[in-house]
Symmetry: C2
Subunit: 333 residues, 2 copies
Amino acid sequence: MSTDDPFRRRRAIEMRTPRDTRFQPHTALGEGAEFDAIRRMIERWGPAARRIGDDAAVITTLGERSLIASTDTSVENVHFKREWLTPAEIGYRAAASALSDLAAMGAKPLGMLVAMGIPEGWRRHLDPLSDGIGEAAMTADAPVLGGDMSRSSELTLTITVLGTARDVLYRTSARPGDSVYLTGNIGASGAALSAFRSGGQPSPLSRAKFVRPVPRIREGVWLAENGAVSAIDVSDGLAADLRHIACASRVVINVDVGTIPVFEGVDSIHALASGEEYEIACTSPTDLDVEAFERRFNVPLTRIGSVTRGEPDVVFTQNGSVVEPPAGYLHFE
Amino acid sequence: MSTDDPFRRRRAIEMRTPRDTRFQPHTALGEGAEFDAIRRMIERWGPAARRIGDDAAVITTLGERSLIASTDTSVENVHFKREWLTPAEIGYRAAASALSDLAAMGAKPLGMLVAMGIPEGWRRHLDPLSDGIGEAAMTADAPVLGGDMSRSSELTLTITVLGTARDVLYRTSARPGDSVYLTGNIGASGAALSAFRSGGQPSPLSRAKFVRPVPRIREGVWLAENGAVSAIDVSDGLAADLRHIACASRVVINVDVGTIPVFEGVDSIHALASGEEYEIACTSPTDLDVEAFERRFNVPLTRIGSVTRGEPDVVFTQNGSVVEPPAGYLHFE
């Protein structure tokens, strides 16, 4: 995929309250012009901002649980093209993408707020658009609690999700000795995007993964309650997303590319740059009960690597040799 | 002001949990094409949406307090024009407008999430834009907790505010016998907008009210804790906003136009259609301690009318005669 892939330009910036407060929040983000802009903004805000850097913000406590919130924008021609998706799929996908940030924190949804910017030509598609949002809401048990509607020149959906978590998964909590796990497989979304962008039609299965991603909400809660300590959802591509954990936790993440489950027909190396997968990558100091997870969710859970000490980095090996993920996977401009 | 005033197109749609659950949520909204679209969406969502209709959603409880959330979008050329405001003012105003919805619920802020759609030409203004947001955050003690940044073809700021309230002010809680109160005065924002739209420059005082509205956060909490039961912030214009309370509570709201404090030089009748004022209109079954309020906040609090039984309506009288607010104040299309 090319270096200006618009899907990689999106990244939720959120507060974190890590167990370990040594790290400045903005150092938790990886490289890239977008993250530079965010870092600069956080510096200027100073006391007007709280610690930012996870998939979602941890705001306050509700008894033994934490209140979690995240906001996520989908813009026509930036995050999707009209001709790729039906209006219902656009609505569903925007909501699912926001809900995935709750999954990455191990949070159970309370609901969502839906802000819509609707161009004139989109008004007649409001029914299927809202049906798609409603479907995602029902699937994740995250009812629409409110919203805002305004005119705009391009379709813009900003969805804010709220949830609670007992055990919160932070990007800063990975430690040397942890194992790295991945839910599902990766590569289908990137394959669909490549097909769309070259003017073709993706295969039905890869298209399904692209247009109807399932946020791993229940899986995220299970992971948090069964040993995982840090996590991220795969939205920029596994390589870029693991880098966020490595930077935030100041560790080296080592991944054996051969162990990564990839979508049929997709090259493992290319799959590392496949964004918008919405699978969960996590680390755990103890062995996760893979069999129990797979029995319960009918979704694969695979150990793909380990965490070691060292300058923050992600190292991919294949057949014993270090390999580089596709050039440009960290470029946001 | 003309009937296609873009400022009236904006209206937060939010969940409510009224004490009295007789009313369907979508009947709580007034007339207008935008509200028709929202009503239709809520109907289609069915169980995928919760009760919507207040300035903000009441989501869950935190001990003796309720968790409140609202989302609000500001779009360039819809909610403001670039030449009217500095980048810092645009940032401040977008955040203040969102925070005002917390004030209308009697809620104290926890913080906000900032989703930005940034066009290419706006990138060099990110510093002052974020400074303005930061200033609003500091003023209201509502730190930035997280956000999202993406490209877009027009500047779009969607700000989600979170807060808590002990005594929640619902639109549905006005009852016959209540008195109607208004904080501050109205008309300045409309006067500034008229000047901007006719290509002129507003007076410094009216401009200040337009570009630096102060969300009545502390005032809203005081009102909720000192007798007020229902409230709304003046964003569509006092006439339109009181209509939302009248419809939601199924009451008649009677306002003596002569008692409404208006900005110097503005006609009282025109002031009724002045939007984006961010003053609070509320109802209370008991007399509010106006003197204590004014001493504490150095802001006027004025009794402007009363609530009576009857088909939902807002009736304005001047010198004993019924008067009509400016034509078009309820038109959103």
